[in-house]
Symmetry: C3
């Protein structure tokens, strides 16, 4: 079923998955990272999924896979709990008479569905979730409890939205006149592609005029903020607590690590990785890995070093002065040999 | 209606607003930023709102405004979708018998209103929102779905609270004794002024003894955290994912960009801007723009530079030593020429 | 009742608590921080809780305590509002017939309780909160409104979960094959110990295979993100907006300040403090205080200094060159005198 090489696989009833350390003889485990080579040697698992070249380090039966982690992902789905069996609309749900629900959609207790909204086949709307007017929910899409969709949000098929996420809230736009801020009505929508996952507590704002767009296959973790008119390219991953400011564009197949900030109106090209808690304060035009921050120190040293950080421009001048004056004159280099790659 | 100079404005039926790039002949657009001057020259809009001095760059009819962005804001409200027509209390809402509701207030499905709470004229409480006891909701204030107000929260008039926001939760206060943490009951409240907007998923804690206060006209974006006893001055803007720690005071007309942190017990004076992802770790006493962080680099260079960051204090000593010893002696400067402005 | 030294305490009826500045003669205040010594001298409080050595600076009656802040914490509980008197299950709640509820548990309006879930004695489930299947809620535990618990979440006794928190959502795990991301079913659970507090909007993901574990007495503020398979040691404090990435382990009695990031697969030993907005990008093996970041500057200076930050590695080479060539040769030091303590 998993397309694995059956060689060496005994006929064991398997009841579940476990880590190398905890797996017993009726459980399957997997091995992908050399950090765990000792755990592999000692594991009590019934079988281990691993690459052919790692089989030698394993004393129990092996399942050979070219991508053990992907095999584990597919296998994990077999053991995922099934949703409760009920279908149809819970009697406590409030569904507008103009909404169109697929007959096999599931609408949970106290869910609210607005006028003109269309719910696709086998979609599951969990308890206490609120969907506004004129939304479109694709087939096999699942909204967990306490989610809010404002009016006019379009979700593709097989989308998974976790609890307390908010999609389609107003973009944060104001025009300032005499120190007061006048709200700009946010007239765009939100379009979410197929196979997108959206984490718990994540917020995705509607566009000001055009739509905010999350392309197919994007995976967004918990508590991410996506501002109005952002576009996130297909198959990009955005980890927890990152914030993407208005009108910025993120390419395809990027990895935005946790707690990253992206300022407004910048573009990030395809295949960029940004490491944790970095600030993208300019566009990135070349694929690669990018970072900001200082790294961690003990606080006593750090306090001294941040004082010097504020003197860096002065240091540069003093260094230049010494080089001009002293015997090391010929060795000076007037431009940085490692400029930041961002434009 | 908008108070614009009608010169040159033809009599076109207008159906909506759009960006310069996408607008068609029945849509109005606006121009505020020279970055878009090519789009202005090429736009197919029915008319463009712009400053008199920019009219020359536009081939279609213009609407002259001294503040085109504000004119656009006012105009956008004309095109904002109207809320559903129903008024009164949805039969599924649970309203305590001692709550006082204006007759034209709207209470949505499954909303819950606690004892002693007062809901003002034309206020709209959306589906699945929970309001505690003894709250006051001003006239024309709107709470979107899945909002939570704890007991004793006061909202002014024309306040807009987005989905999943939480106002009046306990401030985070504990007294530690023998390594265990004893909760300090949070006995203060939260007072929100008129015309405040509060973003989706934002949390504003109640005060420990006194109130947490958000003054009139403040605009707060999504996923902002405001801790107990914070005061935010009138017409300040706080962008997404910023966090203001306990008892800090932010002045009036400030701009706190996205993902900024403000530590506890500091004061920020009026008219301060803090750029994205900066940490305000001390009070700010002069208006101006403030920042922290390192800017973005490619990760390979960054790894080398952060090692050197931790050696900065040592660098300073070595530089001083060279200056004392060498021919550049007279050029040294013992104090920083650009100290950070914060006190 | 509070175990205080009664000497000098007059027989005054006390109606509440207040700060030194605002307290009147029927209110008690407290003094713990020398910053407020002037407020202490001027206070109009009926009595002040303070240390014996501080009594001299107070003109009103004193209550001597070895830990005035803890005494204040205990006293504050006397003035905390009591929950509404109702017990039992609100008629609008939807409780699965297989759930087991203690007879004195309180289930609020529109709450939803899944199959097989067990709710302990005196537990309070507030309005619009959703609890999945097979959860266990300990005695005296309280869930505020709009909370979501996924299936299989275990909460200890006396746990307090604030509004809109989400516990047990899927960990963020995908296996990538041909640029597409395959979901790894998250088969572990979440176990929360006794006396834990969890802030509003906080998200705690379920484990991939093993459980995510929050040990007893941990206090977590608002909008914190705890990823899958994290373990947080007993009596640790995590302040608002911090994010702990997958599989990281935080020790006991740590203090993680606000907006801190901890990358995945690191360990932090017991009794570590991390200051606000720092990134823990490596394990910490010694108790102490740790920081990262640059401190705040005016933006004009900061722009110059971040250019130099990116040249730091080059600066280091130039400094070394000068030292090798010049008269200061003997003073050079080839290794940093203050390395970051993290391993």
């Amino acid at each position: 079923m998993l397309g694995l090489d059956p060689d060496g696989t005994p006929d064991i009833p398997i009841t579940g998955l476990a880590t190398l350390e905890k797996a017993g003889p009726s459980q399957i485990s997997f091995y992908t990272n050399r950090r765990f080579h000792q755990a592999l040697a000692r594991t009590g698992a019934g079988a281990v999924i691993l690459r052919a070249e790692d089989a030698g380090g394993c004393a129990v039966p092996v399942l050979i896979s070219a991508n053990p982690y992907a095999t584990y992902a597919h296998l994990s789905q077999l053991f995922a709990p099934k949703p409760a069996g009920s279908i149809g609309v819970h009697p406590s749900a409030v569904v507008d008479s103009s909404a169109q629900l697929a007959p096999d959609a599931v609408i949970g207790p106290h869910a609210v569905i607005g006028a003109g909204t269309v719910i696709g086949a086998r979609a599951r709307i969990a308890a206490n979730t609120v969907i506004g007017r004129n939304c479109v929910i694709g087939a096999d899409t699942q909204l967990m409890p306490n989610v809010t969709l404002y009016d006019g949000v379009h979700l593709g098929s097989r989308v998974l939205v976790h609890a307390a996420a908010v999609i389609g809230g107003d973009g944060f736009g104001f025009a300032t006149e005499d120190n007061e801020h006048h709200k700009i009505a946010q007239l765009g929508g939100v379009v979410i592609g197929d196979d997108v996952e959206i984490g718990a507590g994540t917020t995705i704002d509607r566009g000001a005029l055009d739509d905010t767009v999350i392309e197919q296959g994007v995976k967004i973790d918990n508590q991410v903020q996506i501002a109005h008119n952002v576009r996130v390219g297909a198959h990009t991953i955005i980890c927890g607590c990152s914030a993407i400011a208005g009108s910025s564009v993120i390419g395809k197949n990027c990895i935005i690590a946790g707690a990253v900030g992206v300022i407004n109106h910048v573009s990030i090209c395809d295949k960029v990785t940004v490491t944790a808690m970095s600030l993208v304060n300019q566009s990135i035009t070349e694929p690669g890995i990018y970072s900001s921050g200082t790294g961690l120190s003990d606080t006593a040293s750090w306090r001294k070093n941040i004082v010097r950080f504020r003197q860096l421009d002065e240091f540069s001048r003093r260094l230049h002065m010494l080089e001009s004056a002293g015997p090391g004159k010929s060795s000076k280099s007037s431009k940085s040999s490692k400029p930041g790659k961002p434009e």
